[in-house]
Assembly symmetry: C2
Homo-oligomer: 134 residues x 2
């Protein structure tokens, strides 16, 4: 598996209307997209910081994954996503190495990328995503 | 304030002896430095991932900042650090914008960089560091 860079950092926030102005006006970053992903029960906002995107995640349903995370842990970093060449190949390699996987095979994520999640029980507590064009 | 990239991601782990092999053998990253920072009561290990460092943080004292974090939240992302041109100028700018600061002026951090921390109460729950050469 060849990780080239950190593709994005997912951050759970209570409210995009409060969080976007903080990232834009206070930190000086530019929000280039806001998108609702209804099957994930989440509204997202994206910022580019060098090679890495910041993906803010607001829950649209307390029973969704971000709703539950916010209830349990409060606002903060939700997951890290590493860019790899080939997601399915990487998932197979990780499986062989004994990593517990949330996704056994790649699925389609934001911006048409292939993605797969590893379980935080296998990743020292960091919910980890791998993503790539293939 | 001009943020160029994510300088590093600080991740609290229970044990570097368990975490370093995960990052090296499982994820295929290379640990380029292990360092104890005794005044912070922490042992650190660094990995380069594209533009961004991963800084693993093992506590050497349960009363230190990482010891308390691990006790309260368990393993996971502890802080994000943004690279800026001038840390003191950026801290002044953030102060004027009403951001609560942990460091009012820059201090010396790892690798000779100037650093300053913002309070997570002002940053939507993410403990945030800014760092730079000046």
């Amino acid at each position: 598996m060849n990780i080239s860079h950190i593709e994005h950092i997912g951050i759970a926030v209570n409210n995009l209307d409060e969080a976007i102005p903080y990232y834009e006006k206070t930190l000086g970053l530019k929000c280039y997209k806001v998108e609702e992903v209804s099957d994930k029960k989440v509204k997202t906002a994206f910022f580019m910081v060098g090679q890495t995107k910041i993906e803010l995640l607001e829950s649209t349903d307390p029973e969704g994954p971000i709703g539950k995370f916010l209830e349990k842990k409060g606002q903060g970093v939700h997951h890290l996503a590493f860019a790899v060449d080939n997601v399915n190949k990487s998932l197979n390699e990780l499986d062989e190495k004994g990593v517990r996987l949330i996704d056994k095979t790649a699925r389609k994520g934001a911006e048409g990328l292939s993605i797969g999640f590893l379980h935080p029980k296998s990743t020292m507590g960091v919910l980890t995503e791998i993503c790539g064009k293939e």
